[in-house]
Subunit: 277 residues, 2 copies
C-alpha cells in the first residue's frame, strides 16, 4: 500500500514511520500499537500523508488530550507565518535557551560589502551567526544556492574586521535538498530543518526548555494566535510568564484558564519527556 506525500510523490506505507511519529507525539508504547491496530484496516492505497496525519491525530486525541499536543510541531512552525519575523524570534529563543545572548538584525561589514545578520548569538567568547529561512509552503525545499550564498557571506564576513564568527547556522522551517546538505556538511555550515541532524536537536530543546510555539495551542483560534504573535508573543510559555499578553483578546475567565491550562500541560509534558530521557 502506498501513501501520497504533500509534494505528490508516492511511497510505501511504513508502519515504523507511523509508530515513530505517534511515539514522538507522546504516545506510550502500548498506546501507539493500539492506535496502529485501529488505523491500519481503515487505510486505503494512495491515502495522503495529510489524511493519515489527521486520522492519527484524532485517534491520539480520543485517547489522551495531552499526547496530541506536540504532534503538529511542524505545522505549528509553519503557522508562525506568513511573515518570517516570528520564526526568527523563535530561533532566537532557541539560542537563548542554550545560554547564548542574542542580537537580531545587526549589520556587519565584510571585506567587500555589508551584511544583515538575522541572529548573532554569543556565549563565553563563542560567537555564532545565524540565518533564518521561513517558508509558507511546507513542501519548499531549500536548494544548494542557499548554503552556497551563505558560505560566500561567511567568507566575506570572516575577512572583514568585525565579522569574526565561530560557526554559521541556517535554520529553516522546511527541508533541504541533498546537494544543500552535502555542501553544508563539506564546508562546515550548520543546517537545522526538518530533514537535518540538527532538527532533532531543535525538537529536543523545545521539550527540554519548554519552547513550544504558541501556534501549538488548540484552545485558541487562528486569528487569536495571530494577534498574540503580532503583539510580540511567540511561545506558549510567554502566555504563562506574561499573563497580560492575553488581555487584548478579552477572553472569558473560563477560556483564559483553558488556554493557560493547555500551556501548562504542554510544558509539563516536555519536562516529563526530558526527565524520562
Amino acid at each position: 500500500m502506498d501513501v501520497r506525500k504533500s509534494d505528490g510523490q508516492r511511497e510505501a506505507y511504513s508502519r515504523e514511520k507511523l509508530r515513530r511519529s505517534l511515539r514522538r507525539a507522546g504516545a506510550g508504547k502500548a498506546m501507539a500499537e493500539e492506535i496502529i491496530a485501529d488505523l491500519e484496516p481503515q487505510l486505503r492505497d494512495g491515502i495522503t500523508t495529510g489524511k493519515l496525519y489527521r486520522m492519527a491525530r484524532k485517534a491520539l486525541q480520543r485517547r489522551s488530550r495531552r499526547s496530541a499536543i506536540t504532534y503538529s510541531l511542524k505545522r505549528a512552525l509553519l503557522d508562525l507565518g506568513p511573515s518570517g519575523f516570528p520564526f526568527e524570534q523563535f530561533c532566537g529563543r532557541l539560542f537563548e535557551a542554550m545560554g547564548y545572548q542574542v542580537h537580531y538584525n545587526r549589520f556587519v561589514q565584510g571585506r567587500c560589502v555589508q551584511h544583515e545578520i538575522d541572529i548573532i548569538a554569543e556565549r563565553n567568547g563563542t560567537r555564532l551567526f545565524a540565518e533564518c529561512k521561513f517558508h509558507n509552503r511546507a513542501t519548499h525545499r531549500n536548494d544548494v544556492k542557499l548554503p552556497l550564498y551563505l558560505r560566500a557571506r561567511s567568507l566575506d564576513l570572516m575577512s572583514g574586521d568585525a565579522g569574526a564568527h565561530d560557526a554559521f547556522w541556517v535554520l529553516s522551517n522546511t527541508t533541504y535538498s541533498e546537494d544543500a546538505l552535502a555542501y553544508a556538511d563539506c564546508e562546515g555550515l550548520i543546517l537545522a530543518g526538518h530533514n537535518t541532524d540538527h532538527y532533532p536537536l531543535t525538537r529536543g530543546l523545545i521539550n527540554q526548555h519548554g519552547l513550544h510555539p504558541l501556534t501549538c495551542l488548540n484552545s485558541l483560534k487562528v486569528a487569536q494566535k495571530r494577534s498574540l504573535i503580532e503583539s510580540g508573543a511567540v511561545l506558549c510559555r510567554d502566555l504563562l510568564d506574561q499573563p497580560r499578553l492575553l488581555e487584548p483578546l478579552r477572553l472569558e475567565a473560563r477560556q483564559r484558564e483553558r488556554v493557560r491550562g493547555e500551556c501548562r500541560d504542554i510544558l509539563d509534558r516536555g519536562k516529563a519527556r526530558r526527565e524520562s530521557a
Copy 2:
C-alpha cells in the same frame, strides 16, 4: 520637470539622456537635435519613461525606418522569454562571436558538490564559466545574493579537479543592485547587464557581429517570433543564414522578403556603426 521610471521612482528629465538614447538608436547628430526640439514642448511633468520612449520611437520611425531598429534592444532581450533558454542561447552566441567555443549546461564536479554550468566558453587555453539570469520583469534587480552564491560556486569548482576556470561571468537581461555590483567588483566576478560596465560591451558586440535578437523585428508578429524561437532561432542573422527557419510560418513571398529585408537593414546598420566607430 520630472520623469517617472518603470519602478515608480521619479527623476529629473535629462535632455542628455534622451539625446544619448536617440544617438544609440542610430539617429545622426542633427536628427537627434531635431527630434528633441520636436518632443520637448509635448512633455508633461511626471511623464513615464515608457511614454517618453514610445514618443521618441515614433518620432524616429517617422524620420528613418532604419534608425528605429535597435532602439528597443532592452525590450528585445525581454521578449526572448518567458523561459530563460533563448537568453542562454543568445549569451552563448555572444561568446562565440568573441571567438570562444561554447558548451551549454555541463555538469562539473566541485570539491563538495556537482554544479550545472550554463555556459562554458573556451578559447586558446582560456576557460570562462558563465551563468545566465533571465527575468521576465524589466524592473527585476539582481541582488547581492546572486554574486555571493556564484562566488561560492566558483570557489567550490576551483577546488575541484575539473573546475578550473579563468573567470566567472554573470549575464542578465536586467539590472544589479549596488551591493551586487560592489561585491562582484571586489571578488572579480564579471557582471553583464543593463547597469554594468560590461553591458556596453554586449551592445557593442551586438552591432559589431550582427547579434540582434530576432525579437527586434517589427515585420513579424509576437506569435511568429515565439514560434521561430521555439524552433531554435535566436538572432536576426539566423533567418538570413538559414532561410528554412521561416518556412513553417508559411509567409507570402512579399512578407518573407520584408522580414529578410528588415534583417539585412539591421545587420547593415550595425556594420556601418562599427565602421564609423
